[in-house]
Amino acid sequence: MATYTYTSRPRALPCQRRRYRDSLLQPEEEPVRYGNIMYDRRVIRGNTYALQTGLLPGQPDPVELQRKQQAKKKALAKKRAQEQLKPRTPEPVEGRKHVDVQTELYLEEIADRVIEVDMECQTDAFLDRPPTPLFIPARTNKDVATEILEGELFDFDLEVKPMLEVLVGKTIEQSLLEVMEEEELANLQASQCAYEEMRNVELAEVQRLEEQKRRHEEEKERRKRQQWEIVHKQNETSQKIAACAFAQRYLADLLPSVFSSLRDSGYFYDPIKRDIELGFLPWLMNEVEKTIDYSLVGRTVLDMLIREVVEKRLNSYERKEGSPPSKWEEELEIPERKRDSTINYLTQEPSTLQAQKRLSDTEYLRAPSIDRGPPTQERKPVEEEFQGPDDDAEMRRSLDTEDPTGASEL
């Protein structure tokens, strides 16, 4: 007869009854499952008088049933496949058998019968939930004791010797090794130091040599530059000297040329000439003019005198013309000539005076009609003669003006 067995792992029962005071932290209430009535499958929609082809929601759908069965089969098959794949302990070797062994901290006796004991208890009302006691399963073992007397098991001193030897030996070996290691380390360190020293020394040497080389280079550079500067300076100096010599030669003729050009342009003049031109000649001209003026004045005065004399004579002759004319005719011839000469003198007058006066005098001369004939002829040459000196005077004046130019050009 199959007995009903039910095994379940211990779990907290979903009991709604609360045993303890509400814990301070209230667990969250599970969200109330509510659905939208519109989408609830239990609510029939549409006309209710139509054929109900569909199944009631409580009864499973045969299609769905089939599907579920197939799904279950699949799941089972899957599970079986997985179980096969699951790593299991290998089958035991021939002649052996696997035995299950408990490996927990506290061994538990496994018996066919499950020991059930009913217990009741009552808790104090609204107590704090006590801390969960440690789960220490009950002891299912027996204590066993034994006694060993001295000398029964083994002899300590004998037994301990090899062990001690080994122990001590090992220790000493270990320590030796350690010491050796240390020494080796120290040696390495020392050699490293020595090497470092040498390296330093060599480095210093290298630096020194490099320094030296650099100094040499610098020195060389400096000497080269110095030399170049010297050469350059020499070149420049020679160029400057050449330029100086060239300039001297080129401009050797400069001063004479400057002076001659200034003389040509008239800036340098002979002061004596200039003085003569500007000082002496105007004075000379002035004096000449004065002299000419004097002579002119003299001549004018003379003309005036003659005129007066002739007037007087004319008056006296006119008065005497009233007396017997016969005597006069003899005397006329002589005084005619004289009169001619006086009339000649008269004619001299107008030409020495200005042109306006000339006109009035000729009018005056026309009065004595007798003498118009010859004296007119004689007048002209005399006039011409006198214009001659006049022209001479003019020419002399212009010559005077030109003379200073002649003098200055000397």
Binding site: I241, C244, F246, Y250, L262, T401, T405
Partner: protein
């Protein structure tokens, strides 16, 4: 003997630099100004003078009788050369000068400005011009009128570079003066016959100036003739007389050419002459004459190459190889030979005359780059017929070695004539070939040497020589466009 007085090798660039920048003339004018002004601080004065740099500005005086066209010519020259014009009227009318107001008062009273005042005005204006603008120069119109004014100007140191005097017979001048009209606004002078303005409004406002009747003109002419004869001797060296009886344009151009020629300067000058011309144009003869007269070194290029060959140096052997192949010698060898010759001290000191080189533009550029640019270049033009005549009739007598020319120096006897030989290089085809070659290159060469002087080589040698001489001695004309 210390280093400063030892004979030095003066590098050739120095004389060239001196020539190119007219250093002698510069120093001369600076020294002249120093002597004239005699400042207390000579060095700042000299520095200022050099900064101003107006040695080449025009300084012109135009003299002439009334109605000769002085003012017209002066104004045209002024516009052309972009310079200042000073007339008596403009000087008196100047506003910002006490001297000018004084002069104006005197002029209004006596119709005459005293000489001293006028010259002081001139000096004031000229010093203003000098200080204000560089490179302007001045033109004086009708000043100085009398010898006194001229002398005063000379004492102050205002010396002109060119003096132009316009001459014309009196009758012409009197007639011309009757037609003179002045525009009162612009003060320009017009003439009823010769120079009538285009615009009618100008025509309408023209006025007759006072003092143009015959009697007054005659009077003025008399006074002018009296005074000008004394002014002219002071400027004899820079004077040029132009007849004013010709059309204005002719007068103007004559004046312009005179103004643009500079006078012979006293600067030391080593001539470096290059003669160009087709073969047979007489280059060798002219070069020999020049070398003989002026002591220049005669560098005949063909001969130079032959001399190098004879010298039997490495270069000579190279050239010999080219001679044998009858190929023209390449440029770099030619340059070496030439450089060797031209850098010798006798060439550097005495100057040289070169012919036969350069032959084309590349050689000319190489010559310039070597540093031996010529300072006088002459092109001798001879027509082809003359060349043929000169060259193809040359003959040589093989027995005596005498050279004859069938036209210019015929052989004395028929016997000699019978045996005369002609150089194959004197044959017509060869001559024509060479002349073609020359004319092909001459266009570029003429463009390269802008200062070249072209001469007619078809005349007798001494005439050509005289032209050459004048070209070398006179300073190169400045071309003002």
């Amino acid at each position: 003997m210390d280093a400063t007085s030892a004979p030095h090798r003066i590098p050739a660039e120095m004389p060239q630099y001196g020539e190119a920048n007219n250093i002698f003339d510069l120093m001369q004018s600076m020294l002249e100004q120093l002597l004239i002004h005699q400042p207390e601080d000579p060095i700042p004065f000299m520095i200022e003078h050099l900064h101003r740099d107006n040695d080449h500005v025009p300084k012109i005086i135009i003299l002439g009788p009334p109605a000769s066209g002085k003012t017209t010519i002066a104004m045209w020259l002024c516009k052309h050369l972009n310079t200042n014009l000073l007339t008596k009227g403009s000087l008196i009318r100047k506003e910002s000068s006490s001297l000018a107001t004084e002069a104006q008062k005197l002029y209004q009273r006596f119709k005459k400005v005293p000489d001293m005042l006028l010259i002081q005005l001139v000096q004031e204006r000229l010093s203003e011009v000098e200080l204000r603008q560089e490179g302007e120069g001045w033109i004086l119109d009708g000043i100085p009128e009398t010898r006194e004014q001229g002398l005063m100007m000379q004492t102050l140191g205002l010396a002109p570079k060119h003096v132009i005097i316009l001459n014309a017979p009196d009758s012409v001048l009197i007639e011309r003066n009757l037609g003179k009209r002045i525009d009162p606004v612009t003060r320009e002078i017009y003439h009823t016959t010769f120079d009538w303005p285009q615009e009618s409004e100008v025509q309408n406002r023209l006025v007759q100036p006072e003092g143009i009747s015959e009697m007054e003109t005659a009077q003025k002419l008399l006074e002018y003739h009296r005074s000008i004869i004394r002014v002219l001797p002071a400027y004899s060296k820079v004077l040029k007389a132009i007849s004013a009886d010709q059309p204005c344009v002719d007068v103007f151009y004559q004046a312009l050419t005179h103004v643009q020629t500079s006078h012979r300067s006293n600067a030391p000058f080593t001539p470096r002459v290059v003669l160009f011309g087709p073969m047979g144009s007489g280059k060798r003869l002219q070069a020999a004459l020049l070398a003989q007269k002026y002591g220049l070194v005669h560098v005949c290029f063909g001969q130079l190459l032959k001399e190098t060959v004879q010298g039997q140096s490495r270069l000579g052997e190279l050239i010999q190889s080219f001679f044998e192949k009858e190929m023209p010698v390449p440029d770099n060898i030619v340059m070496k030979v030439l450089k060797q010759r031209l850098s010798q001290p006798d060439c550097l000191q005495r100057g040289w005359v070169l012919h036969g080189f350069p032959r084309d533009l590349d050689q000319a550029q190489m010559l310039a780059s070597m540093g031996y640019s010529p300072n006088r270049v002459f092109f001798l033009n001879v027509p082809l017929d003359s060349i043929l005549e000169r060259l193809t009739l040359r003959r040589v007598d093989p027995v005596t070695g005498e050279r004859y020319h069938l036209m210019y120096k015929p052989p004395p006897t028929l016997e000699i004539q019978a045996r005369l030989l002609q150089n194959p290089k004197d044959s017509e085809e060869w001559v024509k070939l060479k002349t073609d070659l020359f004319y092909r290159n001459s266009v570029e060469l003429e463009q390269f040497y802008k200062q070249a002087i072209t001469l007619n080589g078809d005349q007798d040698p001494y005439t050509v020589f005289e032209y050459l001489e004048s070209g070398i001695i006179n300073p190169l004309p400045k071309k003002v466009l």
